[in-house]
């Protein structure tokens, strides 16, 4: 039995403890930051297959604040804490050369992790909003961490878009509170199924879902992502692309649709069409990019499209595919961003044209890039193949072969854009390839290599998690979504 508030208390406490103790000694923030994220990783692995509700202060559900742990929260907790541990390991050496002020970095980083942990555990609409804002504010600040002109510009764009999203969410929460007189998610759901559906509820639904879709960067709302993700320091890009858009965007959208408002055919169609549009649109723009990290950021939009398509299908197989792709995407996208970070660390540029022949000088990074590129484009032994395959299979089984067709097209375009990355940076040469600079390149240090190796191994073997399909590790997650509104109410309010 894991004490749920620990997931929120430990990162928030350490976020303020680190700047207090480590003004003088240089290595303290590194050690403390890594220990904290490691403890959180262990704790999150201990929540596997647990399900319970924690009442803060002992107050019972509709009146007090609750933290809810179920299959979906557990999956997201493991993703958040695994990727954050990898990112902190990577940042020890990465920040040394490129940035100053490590203690502020770790402080903001832990605030972001704590906010996300709170978001996925919260069973209360307003608390959800507060935790989301904590995580968002920390990520706005981290995007602008380098204080270059382009970073500030990206951060300002992200700030404006993110804040409009948050205000839409707050407005919708106020409307829902006015309608139902409750803030507890299960209680709101219970009241909503007992009163007739009217325009006010529909309006609140549209506002809250658009607010969270801004955070998850589906296509009409995607404008901030390709600027914000490349501008941040690389470990933060890995966190933003691998975790933040999932915990603050996708998770909350899924939770609200399946457990609060109820899943209807109309919502299913909206999710599928938005998913397919972002799938194709994101990858088409990605093919044209020459900035390595910007290319990866456009792929995040495209891969989130796959997740929404899978979940929008609404069948157990589709949900399995969507969630498995969510998990896989967090692994290979953070690995790709960390690789881009170590390439930038050695070469000093993100322009694909100026790279070349890295496989001779940086063998491990190159091999990790190869594995993650093959994963994201869905080549068989790697994890990306299995999740995309399940999504396509689910689309065909649900009688929507056109969706499956677009998913295959998206996958082929992804492969083409990543073969461009491999050709120009690793196995071939770019046009402005500089021989003298290339001679001086060497492999990055051990602490940067370790997370790359761990994530590569996970990329190769996490296809095995699928063993047993619906009875395996993903079954509690699918049960949460399939159970729908009624089961969630029973679980939280304890019928």
């Amino acid at each position: 039995m894991v004490n749920l508030p620990l997931f929120i208390i430990i990162p928030f406490g350490m976020a303020f403890f680190i700047p207090m103790v480590s003004r003088k000694i240089k290595w303290v923030p590194d050690v403390l930051g890594n220990i904290t994220t490691f403890i959180l990783l262990i704790l999150s692995l201990m929540t596997l297959n647990l399900e319970y509700v924690y009442h803060i202060g002992g107050w019972k559900a509709p009146f007090g604040i609750v933290l809810v742990l179920d299959g979906l929260s557990c999956l997201l907790l493991i993703i958040i804490n695994l990727i954050s541990f990898m990112a902190t390991l990577f940042s020890v050496e990465y920040l040394e050369k490129l940035y100053t002020s490590k203690l502020r970095y770790y402080s903001l980083f832990l605030l972001m992790v704590g906010g996300m942990n709170g978001t996925v555990l919260s069973g209360d609409l307003f608390n959800l909003f507060v935790f989301m804002e904590i995580a968002s504010i920390a990520s706005y600040a981290l995007v602008a961490f380098g204080c270059q002109a382009s970073e500030l510009e990206a951060s300002f764009k992200y700030l404006v878009m993110g804040n409009v999203g948050s205000l839409l969410v707050l407005y919708a929460i106020a409307l829902l509170y006015g309608k139902t007189g409750s803030l507890n998610m299960a209680d709101v759901a219970k009241i909503l199924i007992n009163i007739p559906y009217d325009n006010l509820i529909a309006f609140a639904f549209v506002l809250i879902i658009s607010g969270f879709m801004i955070k998850s960067a589906l296509v009409p709302f995607h404008a901030w992502l390709p600027d914000a993700h490349p501008s941040a320091p690389s470990p933060i890009s890995a966190m933003l692309s691998g975790v933040v858009i999932k915990a603050l965007g996708v998770y909350v959208v899924i939770r609200l649709i399946f457990n609060l408002f109820g899943f209807t055919p109309l919502i299913s169609n909206v999710l599928i069409y938005m998913g397919v549009i972002s799938m194709i649109f994101g990858v088409c723009l990605a093919v044209l990019q020459w900035d390595l990290k910007r290319l990866l950021a456009y792929h995040s939009i495209s891969q989130m499209g796959y997740v929404f398509t899978g979940i929008g299908l609404g069948t157990p197989l589709g949900i399995l595919g969507g969630l498995f792709h969510l998990f896989n995407h967090s692994l290979f996208k953070s690995l790709l961003f960390l690789n881009a970070g170590s390439i930038e660390y050695e070469i000093g540029t993100r322009d694909l044209n100026k790279m070349g022949l890295l496989y001779k000088k940086m063998p491990i990074t190159s091999f990790a890039t190869f594995i993650s590129s093959m994963s994201i484009s869905g080549i068989p032994p790697f994890n990306g193949f299995w999740s995309k395959f399940i999504i396509i299979l689910a689309a065909i089984k649900a009688g929507r072969p056109i969706i499956a067709f677009w998913a295959v097209i998206g996958s082929i375009l992804t492969l083409s854009s990543f073969s461009k990355v491999l050709k120009y940076s690793i196995y071939g040469k770019g046009e402005k390839f500089n021989e003298e600079k290339w001679e001086k390149i060497k492999e990055v240090g051990d602490l940067m290599i370790v997370p790359l190796i761990i994530l590569s191994v996970l990329c190769i073997f996490s296809g095995l998690l699928l063993y047993g399909m619906t009875e395996g590790i993903f079954s509690p997650v699918i049960n949460v979504l399939n159970g729908g509104v009624v089961e969630y109410i029973n679980k939280v309010l304890g019928s």
């Binding site: 804002e133 504010i137 500030l152 409009v164 205000l167 407005y171 509170y177």
Partner: protein, 115 residues
């Protein structure tokens, strides 16, 4: 009626965010939106001739529940104002730094990122 006016205020703020080119005006637009949401929350808890929601000894409970205002929106507004202050501070800081780098507040002249 007053709720509709609140939403109109929200839309005015949104117009400012979408159509203005000066960074400071964009921040002001966001602030009008924030205020309209806070106002809406307060109005939800408003009750004509209401009394403060503090239960004193020997008060009649049924009369109290009929007259007292709803305390929860007020608590929520306090939290939301504090969050808003944090975002505003960060936003103004970024705006000042942007002014130092570009020498202008015009958003159309900040074009380092595109594609």
């Amino acid at each position: 009626m007053i709720y509709y006016l609140c939403f109109v205020l929200f839309l005015i703020g949104l117009y400012g965010v979408c159509c203005k080119k000066n960074i400071v005006k964009i921040i002001l637009g966001l602030w009008i939106m924030e205020y309209s949401v806070n106002l809406f929350l307060i109005l939800l808890g408003y009750r004509k001739d209401g009394i403060p929601p503090i239960l004193k000894p020997n008060t009649d409970i049924s009369q109290f529940t009929q007259k007292a205002v709803d305390p929860l929106p007020q608590a929520m507004v306090l939290t939301s104002i504090v969050i808003g202050l944090g975002v505003l501070a960060l936003m103004v800081t970024v705006a000042i730094r942007l002014y130092q780098r570009y020498g202008t507040f015009d958003i159309t002249e900040m074009r380092k990122l595109k594609g």
